[in-house]
């Protein structure tokens, strides 16, 4: 079957069409923005063989600038839920330098990308290809030669993990992975409920949960002092 305009010719629809203008004048065809590009491409005969000519690039779909009504086809309900989420996460990143003792150059990371200490430490471990030890309130990072530290707003060097995450990312100016004896010296003097960590280990929870719970536990604990 031919692709023809048979119906139009048989019924002479054009002749009976009502339109404004003098008889004998041709109507301006209404071509929508997107279809114009499609017509042009179709005219270039891009079938199975495709078009390899340079013309192809010029007749590629125009870059979408204005939003098309109802496209992409997503229900309003879903759109609204996505948008509220986007508004919440607006704002620039918090970029800080990260140095590691012995490494030839520094790196930079965006603290806003992480939701807590475990992700941050994981990222730093991956970045510098080393392992950070187990964190404990009493002894700092045990089990490796490295300790993650940061310089806070007052210019003091602090052990990463001591303060709640939200406070950390707003006060951290730069990070430094300390190595060796200097690292081992950075334990905490404040004692906390030992049974907390013991209970934690008994239950067999992962390092990630443990580290995250440090924040909350500090808030619960009576011994907590604001810095």
């Amino acid at each position: 079957m031919e692709g023809s305009v048979g119906y139009d010719n048989d019924l002479n629809l054009k002749a009976t069409e009502l339109r404004l203008g003098l008889p004998g004048t041709e109507p301006v065809s209404i071509v929508r923005r997107n279809k114009r590009s499609l017509q042009q491409v179709a005219d270039d005969d891009c079938g199975v063989n495709g078009c390899k000519s340079d013309d192809q690039n010029e007749t590629a779909p125009p870059p979408p600038k204005t939003q098309i009504v109802g496209w992409p086809p997503i229900r309003s309900y879903r759109k609204n839920n996505i948008q509220t989420k986007k508004n919440e996460s607006e704002g620039g990143g918090i970029y800080v330098k990260v140095s590691m003792d012995g490494a030839p150059y520094l790196r930079k990371i965006d603290l806003k990308v992480y939701s807590g200490y475990p992700e941050l430490l994981q990222a730093i471990e991956n970045m510098f290809k080393f392992t950070i030890g187990e964190y404990s309130e009493r002894e700092g990072y045990k089990g490796s030669d490295y300790a993650p530290t940061y310089e806070d707003k007052d210019g003091d060097w602090m052990l990463v993990g001591d303060v709640p995450w939200e406070m950390f990312i707003t006060s951290c100016k730069r990070l430094r992975i300390m190595k060796g004896s200097e690292a081992r010296g950075l334990g905490r003097g404040i004692s906390i409920d030992v049974s907390f960590t013991e209970r934690y280990h008994q239950l067999g929870f992962s390092k990630e949960i443990f580290l995250a719970s440090i924040d909350s536990h500090l808030r619960d604990s009576m011994d907590w002092e604001s810095f």
Partner: protein, 569 residues
Amino acid sequence: SSRRSSFPDEVLERVLSLLKSHRDRSSVSLVCKDWYNAERWSRTHVFIGNCYSVSPEIVARRFPKIRSVTLKGKPRFSDFNLVPENWGADIHAWLVVFAAKYPFLEELRLKRMAISDESLEFLAVSFPNFKALSLLSCDGFSTNGLAAIATHCKNLTELDIQENGIDDKGGSWLSCFPESFTSLEVLNFANLSSDINFDALERLVGRCKSMRVLKLNRSVSLEQLQRLLVNAPQLAELGTGSFSEELTFRQYVELESALSNCKNMHTLSGLWDAKGIYLPALYPVCTHLTFLNLSYAALRSDELAKLLAHCPRLKRLWVLDTVEDKGLEAVGLNCPLLEELRVFPADPFDEEIIHGVTEAGFVAVSFGCPGLHYVLYFCRQMTNAAVATIVQNCPDFTHFRLCIMNPGQPDYITNEPMDEAFGAVVKTCTKLQRLSVSGLLTDLTFEYIGRYAKNLETLSVAFAGSSDWGMQCVMGGCSKLRKLEIRDCPFGNAALLSGLEKYESMRSLWMSACNVTMNGCRLLAREMPRLNVEVMKEDGSDDSQADKVYVYRSIAGPRRDAPPSVLTL
């Protein structure tokens, strides 16, 4: 045959009452007059796919014993704001007839209908046995209407409010369930945003011992969730509230423990703003999960991968494209039983985003999940070769909905149209029932569809095709076609009229922003009196253009409730 059937009517009715599928019932009713009558007296559930195809009076006359009604109203493109606000599909006229003819009505399921608070109140007081109300993608009502339902429906088992345009005036409606009320089995209010009275909810859940589906809204916190779960370990489907507040260690342990007690749970959703760090609390539930809906949780690929490692039995998965191709690789690796995948875009309107998923993610899933038969995939790039590989791996597709988000975009590697991709789909997937196409497409795509997609029932087309020939191929070739929706395509009157003989066997046709004219529509209306041909005009458009055309078969004649912007020809 001259011998009368020795089958008493009562026996025939009893046998036919076991038939549930409405298609089987339609077939049965065509056998002979006796069977027609037996069928109509034994039918208790009626499904009406287009509320304007029939009138409530006609339905009530034919089926005297209906207890459950499913009604669908507006054309599907109304979900994307293409249908004017006051278009119609109002439920009220139906309720008035039902109140008179079906006083024992138990269930009402509505999709894309307009329903007012007055109608909800009328419903609540008119049907003493009313049990189940499900509203999907409806609009016109507020939480006051829900309050009426909660107050008056003493036997309610199901209240399912999904994705509606609801006027949320506050959460007090939930407190309207009387303290003596215990029958609720399904409660889904995830749609609503305002705070509900948590104490009232806690008491409600506590006393409804048969509750198996509970889908909370975003205002319910993790801590509150834990309290609810402690009293409802029998839940089979759970939609959490917000999954992101700071938990103490003790709270986390308690939540995890409450979840692990839910041994029947097979469906999980909600998880708004899910924090990766709390997802491990879900692991005990994940082992039995068959449906996981993460489409409101913007997870990263590593977060998804860790979670899916615990979900070996997953059959249906909905995610946001924040999981990227790497996340989809994890799907392929961990979920061999997967049958349905939906990937929604987190930032559909931001052109600067270069993330999301590509053809690589889809291909990875296809290698790992050979049983995949339903996919909805939003992406920013695709290739013909990738789609060919995908359907080779998964030949059993029944629903293939691919949305390449930039309209008219070609294969990004070869720069060719995406014709061969959809050609591969229709050639390989012989069971294909539903297809949505996208990308740069010429008439060749539609030649393929017409030639090969012999089981196709629903086709959605946007920004595609080169000429009338494309649509003519579809109308001529797809014998089982029931719903066709087209927007922004160069199909004109010839195409429209090529389906003249087909439209009566279809539910409906939608064409908007195509090249159809008023005269073409008038001709169609004249030739086919049993079709309703409706045109929606847009402000400021040319008088001769038919901007939006909606054609559907009807035994109720032209509708009388059309607003001025809708012309029935």
